[in-house]
């Protein structure tokens, strides 16, 4: 029996960029205005003849070798037995070292308290056998959630069938968030600015 490893798999061919996940997450977790635990990056792709919309939901990757946990001087950032990376706000001094260490920029600082927040895989739900809010609300069921190490779980079956790719796999951080169709989407020519929740985060170059 291998260790439990909670993870998420997102089928990019199903994501329509509706942002229902981002809204459900905010409601479930009371995330402050302008901060996000999960968000969708959207941009146009095309070859000139046909334009399509690429949508890439993002969140904390709950890395097995999490740099944020390594650099946290107070141990406020930690990893649970199920592989979920969490922040104990009571220990956080707000030094933001974890934010500098995270290659996914998945963490944010609360402007009022100075404490750092992030996706918890809805630990208050998932530790009770419920799905994270973003997964249960997804209108196209693009998000799968479960134990990556249990071959009988939905997520493990989907990963085995469709193949799961991690973001920045070459960094060797071993993320628990996988994507179906990631390399196809990222290999398509970008023909618009990249938007995050409707706001431009990277203008189109050229």
């Amino acid at each position: 029996m291998t260790e439990k490893r909670l993870g998420m798999l997102i089928d990019l061919s199903l994501c329509i960029g509706c942002n229902a996940c981002a809204v459900a997450c905010k409601q479930e977790n009371g995330v402050p205005l302008t901060k996000f635990n999960t968000w969708v990056e959207s941009w146009d792709v095309g070859t000139g003849e046909q334009t399509r919309r690429a949508n890439e939901p993002k969140l904390c990757n709950h890395c097995a070798d999490a740099p944020c946990v390594k650099v946290c001087p107070t141990g406020a950032s930690y990893r649970t037995e199920e592989g979920v990376v969490l922040v104990d706000e009571e220990k956080c001094i707000g030094c933001k070292y974890c934010m500098a260490a995270c290659p996914f920029q998945a963490r944010w600082v609360d402007d009022d308290t100075g404490e750092v927040g992030k996706c918890t895989f809805c630990y208050h739900r998932s530790s009770q056998g419920l799905l994270p809010a973003c997964v249960s609300t997804c209108v196209t069921r693009a998000r799968y959630f479960g134990d990556l190490n249990d071959p009988e779980s939905d997520i493990a079956k989907k990963a085995a069938e469709a193949g799961g790719e991690a973001l920045y796999a070459d960094l060797g951080l071993d993320p628990a968030v996988l994507y179906v169709g990631l390399s196809q989407v990222e290999s398509m020519p970008v023909t618009s600015a990249i938007h995050r929740g409707g706001n431009v985060v990277k203008p189109l170059e050229g």
Partner: protein, 291 residues
Amino acid sequence: MVWDGIIACYLFLAGLGAGAFALAALAGFVKPDATKLRLAGYLIAPIAVAVGTVLLMVDAKAGLMNPLRFFGLLANFSSVMAWGVVILILFMIVSVAALVIMLRKKSTPKALDIVGLVCAVAVAMYTGLLLGDAPGFPLWNPVVLPLLFLVSAVSSGFAAVLLAAHAGKTGEPEGLGFLKKTGLALPVLEAVLVVALLAVTASVGGSAGPAAAASVANLVSGPYAVAFWLGLVVVGLALPFCLELVRAAQAKKNPEAASSGMAIAGEACVLVGGFLLRYLVIMAAVPLVLF
């Protein structure tokens, strides 16, 4: 941007304090009677590091609002920051002890100076390693940055002490022969390391490649290019080097005529460059995401 000018100030002051102690200690080995200069160094060292540490705490808002949380800072020694806290505490203890002994006896025990020098090197290099251990920003190279910040710490610490010595017209810096060499060698060494940082960053490949290239472009030709070329390269490195050359030539002709005004100008330039180096390294760094 995760960090900003506050952290740049902290990195600058920590390095400056370390360098100031180093000059006071080294001067004690070769010319113990340069007491005013040495006292200036022992005085600047703990003050600069203490002010820097306070800035660090101000930036850590959650800790500032709940100060007891700072006692948890030694909980995780896989974090460079936890080691930094130990190093800063040791440096503060040694440098305050050296200051007190200097004030009382006008000299310091050699053993204390050696321990302090080790702590000073650790403080200076730790500020670079702190950034180097954050894989979110490919500009922060874990090998080059500690060396670059060490050299810059020596430069800026020396400059701060010499500025005080020249402004106070002590005449003591002229008695320290090694300063003629460091005044020329340090800017050259720092320039080489800046080039090395840019070259190493530009050669980063894989997922971090685009952000690394964008960071280099930010400095060399992007929004930080004026501060980089004019501020760091010209004012911070080239000008102090040239002023030192001119002063050396003057001193050869007539040792009495060597202008202390020129020395002060050069030292002020070094300080500007020292701060700008930290500021640019922090502000021009591009995170991996989206690039």
